[in-house]
């Protein structure tokens, strides 16, 4: 019978987790027979695998992730966007103008230019080159209005909540529309100033207190109160 720790523990890089021969997932490394944490976070040992849920680190693009990016420049037939990662997102001109097209730089500038904010999907991500992004879907494209906020990408799952519960609670309570990027970028739109302020405060709370157990209650309480 394999022995394993079922409790999540705080770990730092270099901390020992277990010697059990488990499948290695995120943020751990095998040194001899010892599984070592490589990131600051929570160790998570299950019956057949071990990982560390990281509290730090840059966003790594994954296929089908929805991200928010800022156009940096145009080169060749592509736009390059800052997607809050160690890599820039590459948006092909063909994605916008159609397959086989060769838009000119001024045609491209008219659609999207430096400083524009877009909601995009990671279309492809391999080690050889910059990740490809796409705005071909109806729900994707340029974001014209709202407030852009950045939080740690590791907190996004908490902001969305189980089956979207947290984000829906915030939207319902404030009448705000919140567009969430897996890469830690969020755009909040709201007609009422108070609603906007509350939504922004809720997001800030998640970023700062994601590791606390009673966060959901705290956020609900803030949303229901008069002030922030």
């Amino acid at each position: 019978m394999k022995k394993f720790e079922s409790k999540k523990r705080h770990v730092l890089p270099g901390d020992f987790i277990t010697t059990a021969p488990l499948r290695l997932q995120d943020n751990v490394v095998l040194e001899g027979k010892r599984v070592i944490a490589t990131s600051i976070g929570l160790s998570d040992v299950s019956a057949d695998s071990v990982r560390v849920i990281s509290l730090t680190g840059v966003y790594m693009p994954k296929i089908d992730d929805l991200v928010i990016g800022t156009i940096q420049y145009i080169f060749g037939n592509s736009w390059f966007a800052d997607i809050n990662s160690c890599y820039q997102g590459m948006l092909l001109g063909q994605d916008v103008f159609g397959r086989g097209s060769y838009p000119t730089t001024s045609e491209m500038k008219e659609r999207l230019e430096k400083g524009d904010i877009i909601y995009a999907k990671i279309a492809n991500s391999d080690r050889q080159r910059e990740p490809l992004i796409s705005i071909a879907d109806q729900s994707l494209g340029k974001i014209d209005s709202g407030e852009l906020v950045k939080i740690s990408p590791t907190k996004i799952p908490r902001l969305i909540g189980k089956h979207g519960s947290m984000i829906q609670t915030i939207e319902a309570s404030t009448n705000a529309t919140i567009t969430v990027g897996q890469n830690g970028l969020i755009v909040v739109s709201c007609d009422e100033t108070n609603g906007l302020l509350k939504a922004l405060t809720a997001i800030r709370m998640v970023d700062e207190q994601a590791h606390l157990v009673n966060l959901t209650d705290k956020v609900k309480k803030m949303l229901e109160s008069d002030g922030v």
Partner: protein, 245 residues
Amino acid sequence: MGGREANVVLLDENGIRSDGRKVNETRKVTIKAGVLKNASGSAYIEFGGNKILAGVFGPRDVHPKHMSNPDTGILRVRYHMAPFSVGERKKPAPSRREIEISKVIKEALEPAVMLEKFPRTAVDVYLEVLQADGGTRCAALDAASVALADAGIPMRDLVCACASGKAADALILDVNNEEDQAGQADMPIGYMPNLGKITLLQLDGVLTTDEFKKCIELGLEGCKQVYEIQKNALREKYFSSGDKD
């Protein structure tokens, strides 16, 4: 600050050093993680009279492109001393000493960081000495490790560092400025305790082979003490509203 060392008693008859320490005692060390707003990771260390700031950016794009590595991220380190950090004002341009120390610190950190997941990128470590008081490269390396962890760079272990040496014929831990100037040997050591690997080692001075072994062992004791302080600095930033299990 020249010309005064001749009068300094490095070790008195009670085994007490010029700054009141015993031979196996380090100076006071404090480290704070996450002190800068713009850097991805940062740390500030006070090691005795040394005051050093560390900032990390990355992984990020490499310019010019030909310097990047298609298979892995690269590590770049810049150790630099502010003009007001030393006795006689230092001109801002990097000196040969700073360039060498930058390289040595980089090579001390490389075994610890895991950059294979980030091809074509660079992780930049910037170390600025605001006040120097002997042992800056060790203190800078201590701060660099904390800043890298704070930035979320995957690491096999933190790298801790401390110097040992010899003064007045005795082996001493954590050589201060006066002991560095007037003593007999100064040996900075960088160490990954988890893997038992020494990743920074230099020597200025003369030691017998027996002294060499003992001096390293003494230095590793100091390194391990700093290791705990590094970990506590990170725990304080990330785990201190302490709750989860």
